[in-house]
Symmetry: C2
Subunit: 363 residues, 2 copies
């Protein structure tokens, strides 16, 4: 039996944007009914890894596909050149302001295609169909689009929320196991900062999740997406509420960079970043030991994840470059309890580095 | 005697942006008091042609200049690569979200630097110090930033209004005569669509303008800037009010493109575009013959301008590519009277081509 799709709206009061998320089984085949384009025409962007779901979406859209572009979905290909390739193809096909982009893929495809939509003709609408667990839980929602620069990740971009996000668990069917597990870290992260019930359900259902049960995946992803939608509706740009979503990301980004974006998947680096943040949370936010252990246990089950580099020099150079470090100092996200995150403005660099050294996923 | 600078604010009710324009003599030397940056630090972008005013601004900013970048200000260099060069320099210098960009130059420098500011760290503030008559009257105000693409002008970009625009007539002191005259077309255009009194003053003061009298330039440019600020405050994106500013630009862009952006300056192409629009305006909007003749006479005085290409095949291919042509059809701006423009939705391509053939600046 297939339940009707769940609909979640994200919109800030008084702002001109709205994103509608559709979450349910079998949505790929009927994507054409839900994707938004004023003209009815679409520029379809996908990657080699998302070819199967992209073809299903293309079939659903039929002759409404104006152009179809495949980009490289590796982190090192997340550059302004990839945006330019999409723009070239779209403009050569005669894209107009009332046409829309649809991205079918993981975080890189969504970030790059969303950014291309943001700057094409000074902005056309776009739609996201995430095909990885990480993008379902996180990357496609919230309006942050962009590309990397040689000096750091996501340093060039735009706030450009998708008109629609369509999440069908079947889109992740061919995702390699390592990516599937790493992406789930983002779903758990959302639960841990904001929803204790969802956290318990996800922790208890971890076996079903790992066996790729579609209902378990739907529940985890829908819960995480709802949390993110609620948070970005309150706080589109980088205020305190939105910064909660960065739990595990301060060191996570540094671990990822220290591995040259090769050694660790984004979700794996975030798992280690969470482990380090638990350490600081115990001291600064009085996170109970048993709750920290519950989180470490869940992360161990999602893993095992490769060890990160703990080189102090490398990590501190990346921490200092993070664009969330303003001239005012170094901020981070801690956990008071499972389901309750907290933003702190001034954790010294030294404390991050010590936590990085001690970070452990062993209970 | 130097009058105090004139201050004009542009802001749409309920929107989060505001641009403040300062217009007056001697503002270059005190630019540091008016430019806006939350951190106090600036990335300064200029061109070879704007070296003198940029150096005056740099002196005023002193050690608050984080990085100084010179870009090529020719239309053919208005590309995504130029944006990337600015981003490279800014990021390598450690730019942060609370820093700001300041562009000192003509339309190309303002468009490119403003776009770079729009996408750097997903958006940093920027300031414009236009150094050409065209940029003073038009390009720096209103929030349209962007670069060209091989398939057309300004096809990649963002709406990102400058925090501050500082207009000092002395910034145009070293502008070559041809550029000085061509840029004035934009100032007259603003008057013709929206302010009959300013139009009369500017037409009567044309000798003083052409002799580079700073007071005459201030009056023309301040009037045009006030018109543009009022219009974009009402209508930031591309509604009917804002489209009035495109008077002369439908064919103007096509004339410019047909000359490979080499044969005609932007303002010269717009002058020919206005001549063609007068022809359509006489028939469709009952523009009185004597008013059309007044406009042609003023444009002749600003010229002589080189003849444009009138090749129907070339012009129609460029007209069809204009991003303002939606699937709904072909729009244009006509004049009912001097000081009163009107947007029409559906002028057939054939009518544009005939007007292009007949366009004349001879009274």
């Amino acid at each position: 039996m297939t339940l009707p799709p769940r609909r979640i709206a994200a919109a800030a009061p008084g702002e001109s944007w709205e994103s509608v998320l559709w979450i349910g089984k079998g949505l790929l085949a009927s994507a054409g009914e839900r994707l938004v384009s004023r003209s009815g025409r679409f520029v379809l962007v996908s990657s080699a890894g998302s070819r199967a779901p992209a073809s299903e979406v293309a079939r659903s859209l039929g002759d409404r596909v104006l152009a179809r572009i495949q980009i490289d979905d590796r982190e090192e290909a997340k550059t302004l050149s990839a945006v330019e390739r999409i723009a070239d193809a779209a403009l050569s096909a005669g894209v107009r302001r009332d046409d829309a982009v649809v991205a079918v893929g993981g975080g890189v495809v969504c970030d790059v295609a969303g950014f291309a939509a943001a700057i094409l003709l000074r902005g056309v609408a776009w739609n996201a169909i995430p095909t990885t667990t990480g993008a379902m839980a996180d990357a496609a929602i919230g309006g942050k689009t962009g590309v990397d620069h040689s000096t750091g990740k996501n340093l060039l971009g735009a706030f450009h929320p998708p008109a629609t996000v369509v999440i069908d668990p079947a889109a992740a069917a061919t995702l390699p196991d390592r990516d599937y597990r790493a992406g789930l870290v983002e779903a758990f992260k959302a639960a841990w900062i904001a929803d204790a019930d969802l956290a318990s359900r996800a922790e208890n259902g971890i076996d079903r999740l790992l066996s790729r049960d579609e209902d378990a995946l739907l529940d985890a992803v829908a819960g995480a997406a709802a949390i993110k939608a609620a948070i970005v509706s309150e706080d589109m740009k980088e205020g305190d509420r939105r910064r909660l979503l960065n739990f595990g990301h301060t060191l996570g980004h540094a671990f990822e960079a220290a591995g040259g974006y090769q050694d660790l998947r984004h979700g794996e680096a975030v798992a280690w970043g969470i482990a380090a943040a638990l350490d600081i949370s115990s001291r600064r936010a009085r996170l109970p030991r048993e709750e920290a252990d519950r989180i470490r246990a869940a992360l161990s089950r999602l893993g095992p994840f490769p060890q990160p580099s703990r080189d102090r020099g490398v990590l501190s150079s990346f921490l200092a470059r993070d664009k969330k470090f303003t001239s005012r100092g170094t901020a981070g996200v801690l956990l008071e309890r499972i389901g309750r995150g907290q933003v702190v403005e001034s954790v010294p660099l030294e404390e991050w580095l010590e936590a990085a050294e001690r970070a452990s996923l062993t209970v």
